[in-house]
């Protein structure tokens, strides 16, 4: 599903101008990483997508809906949201019911609710915990539960605010794999993260924000290789990029296998020369 921001401004009641003229359009099925320093306006930007915040100026469009004309609950059927802190949303006594809450709000049939919740729990690896109380889960499992609750809503657009934070290697890989799978099935994905290694591994396009503006927008390979740009946006470049630059390699591949290939080619060529 297509998303677009047209000349969007947003100022909080405290007078902080969090978004200062944003123009951005995201095609259906794109996987976009949004990066930038603390307070750049990333969370504010995505909250406009489901009407949790309303722009002071400009227009935000989700598919063919102008968000100004729809309530958050309606937009929730199109834009799924994973918040940073799962404790702010879990309340049911059983994992299964927690996951069913969203689909039920969206008016799915009982059969669809059951099948969507179960498959979401399987996807995140919590199927064995369906009857447990969400508060008996470990914090990282609660985050996975919150993700399952979002997945079960079966929305064409998915927004994730720092999904990899607090996860160990297995959890991180699991979340990455889930995102990749959703991406191949055509979901439009917005990933907010300070973890550029994670972004580099899974996203295809990167939007760099600072001070309520968009500093740069393009393929992750191009954007993450620009040291000065990342420095201006106060984000830490991915490890592989820093390594490639330290070695003075001509390219900076973002995935380990690509890096290894590029390195051995470059190394061989250098030896011959």
């Amino acid at each position: 599903m297509k998303l677009s921001f047209e000349g969007v401004f947003f100022t909080y009641s405290t007078g902080v101008r969090a978004l200062d003229g944003i123009d951005l359009s995201i095609g259906s099925g794109e996987f976009v990483a949004i990066v930038g320093e603390n307070g750049a306006g990333k969370t504010t930007l995505v909250k406009l997508l489901n009407g949790l915040l309303r722009p002071d100026g400009g227009k935000v469009v989700v598919g063919n809906w102008d968000t100004a004309e729809y309530s958050t609950a309606q937009l929730a059927g199109r834009v799924g949201f994973l918040f940073q802190n799962p404790d702010e949303q879990l309340f049911e006594r059983a994992v299964q019911r927690e996951v069913a809450f969203g689909p039920r709000n969206l008016g799915f049939s009982e059969r669809k609710i059951a099948s969507k919740s179960m498959s979401a729990l399987k996807t995140v690896g919590l199927a064995d915990h369906a009857e447990d109380n969400p508060y008996d889960l470990a914090p990282f499992e609660r985050k996975l539960l919150a993700l399952a609750a979002t997945l079960a809503m079966d929305t064409p657009v998915l927004v994730l605010d720092e999904p990899s934070i607090g996860q160990d290697a297995a959890g991180r890989r699991r979340i990455g794999r889930i995102l990749r799978e959703l991406h191949t099935m055509g979901s439009t994905i917005l990933l907010i993260s300070h973890d550029l290694d994670f972004c580099a591994e899974y996203a295809e396009r990167a939007v760099v924000m600072a001070n309520g503006h968009i500093l740069a927008d393009g393929l992750v390979e191009k954007i993450f290789a620009q040291n000065d740009l990342l420095q201006r946006a106060a984000v830490f470049p991915p490890q592989l990029v820093r390594l490639a630059q330290a070695l003075k390699m001509p390219t900076a591949p973002l995935k380990v296998d690509q890096f290894v290939n590029a390195y051995s080619q470059w190394h061989r060529r250098k030896k011959r020369a």
Binding site: T72, F81, N85, F91
Partner: protein, 259 residues
């Protein structure tokens, strides 16, 4: 400051010693409980509290917070008291119930008492850094743990409000429709109150550990980075305020006995 109502500034009100402001808050609380009728209460609010908030450069946040909190009370109290207090002056008929003038007045009086107490608390919270208040309380001999209790109870309102807002957003993002009729609204309480209570408990536990990690209950005198400015005048004023409170309480007891 996050999680508090404090609005920074350098006005006379801001510079008053925290205990002086606390005494004023208690005085307004006594006002709320003892002033005899609506007229007195509103007069005290307009003549004392509103100018004081303006003195502190806090007129807008003060009035805004008062309005936000008091409106639901005004509406619900007027309806409940208005329809269920018998009286001589019927104002309005609805489905066999009568809204009486006496009832309406009673409802508004209770609401104005709440407004008075609320206003007093708001003046303190808006103009006083919480850590300054805590310091002032411990300096005057209150045990640290008790000062902490006072402080957290003052801060709990804005913290709750902030957290409730976040939870509300999270549930709306899961498709929860909140603009529904009153009966359905009751059902909303579970998804909203559940996380609120649980996350608050987690919060309390974490805070207790954070405090201990910083030697909160270590015996002995503690020093502070903050400097408190006091003056003999303010010291005297606080005793004056205390006497005034006692006098007001005495007066209202006398009124109760003699009527």
């Amino acid at each position: 400051m996050h999680g508090t109502l404090f609005v920074s500034g350098n006005s006379g009100l801001h510079r008053l010693h925290p205990l002086t402001k606390l005494a004023l808050t208690f005085l307004f609380l006594v006002f709320a409980a003892t002033l005899p009728n609506l007229l007195w209460l509103l007069a005290a609010f307009v003549i004392l509290l509103v100018p004081m908030s303006a003195w502190g450069g806090l007129l807008r946040p003060f009035l805004r917070s008062c309005l936000v909190v008091i409106t639901p009370f005004v509406i619900s109290l007027s309806i409940i008291q208005g329809f269920f207090t018998p009286g001589e002056t019927p104002l309005f008929h609805l489905a066999g119930f009568v809204l009486t003038g006496e009832g309406l007045l009673a409802g508004l009086t209770v609401a104005s008492r709440i407004l008075m107490a609320l206003g007093g608390a708001l003046l303190l919270m808006l103009s006083t850094r919480p850590d300054m208040l805590m310091l002032a309380l411990t300096r005057s001999g209150l045990p640290g743990s008790l000062a902490y209790v006072v402080l957290t109870s003052i801060q709990i309102f804005p913290r709750f409000q902030e957290r409730a807002q976040v939870i509300l957003e999270a549930q709306q993002a899961r498709g929860l429709e909140i603009k529904v009729n009153i009966f359905k609204r009751l059902r909303l309480l579970v998804p909203l109150m559940g996380p609120l209570v649980l996350s608050s408990i987690v919060d309390v536990e974490e805070r207790a550990m954070a405090l201990e990690a910083r030697a909160f209950s270590r015996p002995g005198r503690k020093t502070s980075l903050l400097a408190l400015a006091d003056s003999p005048g303010q010291h005297l004023a606080r005793w004056g305020l205390l006497l005034l409170m006692l006098a007001l309480i005495g007066w209202s007891i006398w009124r109760a006995i003699s009527s």
